[in-house]
């Protein structure tokens, strides 16, 4: 269990370097079109990969997870705030599982 602190430290150091490096080093825009495009796509792909199918595995009932995904997607699509989308997903799962579980 002690190595949990090492995981935290490794992630903390790496994420800090990622955050700090560009502000201190890159004074001019990155030129490579590939790198720019790649970096632009990375967050959306990563977050999508991490969301599905994890969201349907997190709940007790898969239908609840699928409905949370659909409702959350619709809410986010219409630019609802981060907080509101999160709450909508929770409420959907709660309501569906009251009926199905």
């Amino acid at each position: 269990m002690t190595n949990i602190y090492i995981y935290i430290l490794v992630a903390g150091i790496v994420s800090t370097i990622i955050r700090v490096l560009p502000v201190t080093v890159f004074r001019k825009p990155i030129k490579s079109r590939f790198v720019k495009s790649f970096l632009y796509y990375v967050p959306y792909v990563t977050l999508a990969v991490m969301t599905f199918p994890a969201i349907i595995d997190a709940t007790q009932n898969k239908i609840a997870g699928i409905l949370a995904l659909i409702c959350g997607t619709v809410a986010a699509w219409f630019n609802q705030s981060l907080f509101r989308v999160a709450i909508i997903c929770c409420v959907v799962v709660f309501a569906v599982e009251i009926i199905l579980v």
Binding site: M1, Y5, Y7, I8, L9, V10, A11, G12, V14, S15, I18, R19, V20, L21, P22, V23, T24, F26, P29, F34, V35, K36, S37, F38, L39, Y41, V42, P43, Y44, V45, T46, A48, V49, T51, F52, P53, I55, A58, T59, Q60, A64, G65, A68, L69, G72, A75, A76, W77, N79, L82, F83, V85, A86, I88, C89, C90, V92, F94, E97, V101
Partner: protein, 243 residues
């Protein structure tokens, strides 16, 4: 003159707190659900608090819990952190253009440390050059609630009925959706990529051929492959200027 300067400093800090407060409330709730995941990975409340304060990124911390509970190598942790936080490279790059040239290196480093999706958003929206004090004020209140929320989730997660845990555990995915969908609406290619990512991620997790590969490694491989192919086929014309 000195007095005016002092006042404006106060105003900047006040504005930071004002803008950071709603973010902090949202963070507390989402971090609570992250705490539930942290609990499953056997993290103590203190470990959750420290992790949240140092990493302050939902996806990044989620990666820590995934990697730690799988007992993967520290290298996997480092690579995973780079992959899930790669967007901060872009945000930090965007911020680097917004600094006053006279801003000291220390302020640049500290402001860089405060970057999260939401704090980046309010910083970019603010007219003029970056005022480090504004970022510190907004960050401190938001990060404190974020860390506290994680610790509370680890503590109270155990006391909560299964039904409530189940419901709260999707909050994080809701947050991910809120981060990606607005961009998908603006750019059809992003929407397509998200759909492709969903499908490939589903197969990667369900097909027995890939069952030997850890979830974290799968995320890295899928991200690099999908984003690379997309960058070659559909180079994004104006990455920084689309807002």
């Amino acid at each position: 003159m000195n007095n005016i300067y002092q006042n404006s400093k106060k105003t900047i800090i006040k504005e930071g707190i004002r803008d950071g407060f709603p973010i902090a409330l949202g963070y507390f709730a989402v971090a609570f659900s992250l705490g539930i995941i942290a609990r499953k990975a056997n993290f103590t409340p203190l470990q959750g608090f420290i992790n949240s304060f140092l990493n302050h990124a939902s996806a990044g911390e989620y990666a820590v819990y995934t990697v730690a509970s799988a007992n993967s190598a520290y290298v996997v942790m480092a690579v995973m952190t780079i992959v899930v936080n790669a967007r901060y490279l872009l945000m930090s790059t965007a911020l680097s253009q917004k600094f006053d040239e006279a801003t000291s290196m220390l302020h640049r480093i500290l402001v860089g440390f405060t970057v999260t999706d939401e704090l980046f958003a309010i910083t970019i929206k603010r007219p003029g050059v970056i005022e480090p004090l504004y970022n510190y004020a907004a960050f401190l209140i938001a990060a404190f609630c974020w860390s506290l929320g994680t610790a509370c989730g680890i503590v109270a997660g155990e006391l909560m009925p299964l039904r409530l845990v189940s419901a709260l555990s999707v909050a994080l995915y809701g947050m991910f959706l809120a981060c990606i969908m607005p961009e998908a609406r603006k750019h059809r290619i992003v929407a397509v990529l998200i759909a492709v990512s969903f499908v490939l991620s589903y197969f990667a997790s369900r097909l027995t051929v890939f069952s030997g590969i850890s979830a974290g490694t799968k995320t890295i491989i899928l991200t690099v492959v999908i984003a690379s192919v997309a960058a070659i086929l559909f180079p994004h014309p104006e990455v920084e200027d689309d807002d």
